[in-house]
Subunit: 120 residues, 2 copies
DNA sequence: TAAGTGTACTAGCTCACCTAGTACACTTAA
DNA sequence: TTAAGTGTACTAGGTGAGCTAGTACACTTA
């Protein structure tokens, strides 16, 4: 379900957060579906339950999941969050455009790259 | 010349590296121009000389500047490096495209954003 | 000779990240 | 009722990155 990249400089809890968020956003995890328990996922990934807990806390804080004490964590019914994520993507795109501009790369070149061989 | 953003989670030496590299790439610092000395820049930015040294070392390692002991650091005559940087930009663009795809955003939407209000 | 330069150390501090362990309230199923 | 599984909240400690402080030395230039 999830793979940790120890060569990645980003912290583990953040990697897990990102991957779970993506699974929720693209529908692989559906609304009201039960998430793996903190302890279960910690066992599977061979890391500390506290680290998973931290990922889950952030997912809950941002509204991607909700918690029922004693039962578990469940996927939220997303809505506005999709729009939030879209904004995040476009912000990242803006940053790339800005860097490109400083390097003398035109918008048309970026567009050509997207149309051409760019991974999509 | 340079401003450190302490709200930025990225390390200081990396911020300085990025900004100096950009000044070199866009021609604000020209070939064979003398860079500020390690100690001078450390004074100006009120940080430790070792931190500047680390930025300079990385700039030299990647070929953006060259060092003459006892005299100082000087801007290299770039060439291949511009192409390297272009690749880096396009790689970042590819990552955005990949994230966009996972979120259901099409390439055309990204293009529209670049053409429209995207910062350039 | 003195000032300025890069460079290379050692030492220590702080903080983020992660692990280990314990404890407690809750829910569910046997 | 009981046992197992759940989230949650602690404390304690290890590790490493990042940064500072200080010192030292070889080099260049005025």
């Amino acid at each position: 379900m999830i793979l940790i990249d120890y060569k990645d400089s980003r912290p583990i809890y953040e990697q897990i957060f990102d991957k779970l968020r993506l699974l929720i956003l693209n529908g692989a995890l559906k609304a009201d579906e039960k998430m793996p328990s903190v302890r279960t996922m910690a066992m599977e990934l061979s890391i500390n339950p506290n680290t998973i807990q931290r990922s889950y806390s952030e997912l809950e804080r941002q509204g991607y999941i909700y918690t029922v004490k004693g039962r578990g964590n469940f996927v939220s019914d997303i809505g506005k969050l999709r729009e939030e994520y879209r904004k995040e993507i476009f912000n990242r795109l803006d940053e790339v455009c800005a860097s490109a501009g400083n390097a003398g790369i035109t918008g048309e070149e970026l567009i050509e790259h997207i149309r051409g061989g760019g991974k999509q």
